[in-house]
């Protein structure tokens, strides 16, 4: 079975500061990893995903994430945040095995960017 743990439920930061949102996963097979963002009163949309190849993945809005297989982590980073980055962020894992097509989501991290 696969699982995802987002280590921080809330992350407050000031505008223009760097931020890291942490995600650890567990799975018995090779995984695909995703970060989704949910703005208030909206559905989730994809920020970035890791499928294979380079462990550093770049996404939309200046976000990037690094896949670390030995530490089973997929942390999301941004060097300088904006007020508009305030949102809920979800890490998700899926695999190509028996769970193909079904993703497991973490409980989310609320990023609040203060002026």
């Amino acid at each position: 079975a696969q699982s995802v743990t987002q280590l921080d439920s809330q992350v407050p930061v000031f505008e223009e500061a760097p931020v890291e949102l942490r995600c650890n996963y567990s799975s018995s097979v090779s995984v695909y990893l995703f970060w989704y963002v949910q703005y208030p009163n909206q559905g989730l949309q994809l920020l970035l995903k890791y499928l294979s190849g380079s462990t550093l993945v770049k996404g939309i809005n200046g976000f990037e994430a690094e896949f670390n297989k030995s530490q089973t982590s997929f942390h999301l980073r941004k060097p300088s945040v904006h007020i508009s980055d305030t949102a809920e962020y979800f890490c998700a894992v899926s695999d190509g095995g028996t769970n193909a097509g079904k993703s497991t989501f973490g409980d989310g991290t609320t990023l609040t960017v203060k002026p």
Binding site: Y32, L44, K49, A92, G96, A100, G101
Partner: protein, 114 residues
């Protein structure tokens, strides 16, 4: 770009009532899903479908039913609504089998059972 469309956006139900949440996608995706999101929690999979006529249970299927008569539509039926079903419901779709695919979400349906 319609994507995944859900209706209604908001609904208040009385205990014991029934209702259907409608979901349609125009991306010709084979996979469709229903999730619920409780406050401070992640998404829990209720039901999913791998194609027209094929549905299967997710993590939390009790109290719900689904059908998939066409590729485009995937309605979720709540029978005998209970307060525990107060939640935000998201319909979603993805292109194909395999965990590589991005999941596309609707904007959500806020349901309150009183």
């Amino acid at each position: 770009n319609a994507g995944v469309t859900q209706t209604p956006k908001f609904r208040i139900l009385k205990i014991g009532q029934s209702m259907t949440l409608q979901c349609a996608q125009d991306m010709n995706h084979n996979y469709m899903y229903w999730y619920r999101q409780d406050p401070g929690m992640g998404l829990k999979l209720i039901y999913y479908s791998v194609g027209a006529g094929i549905t299967d249970k997710g993590e939390v299927p009790n109290g719900y039913n689904v059908s998939r008569s066409t590729t485009e539509d995937f309605p979720l039926r709540l029978e005998l609504a209970a307060p525990s079903q107060t939640s935000v419901y998201f319909c979603a779709s993805s292109q194909d089998r395999g965990g590589r695919n991005t999941i596309y979400f609707g904007e959500g349906s806020w349901l309150t059972v009183v």
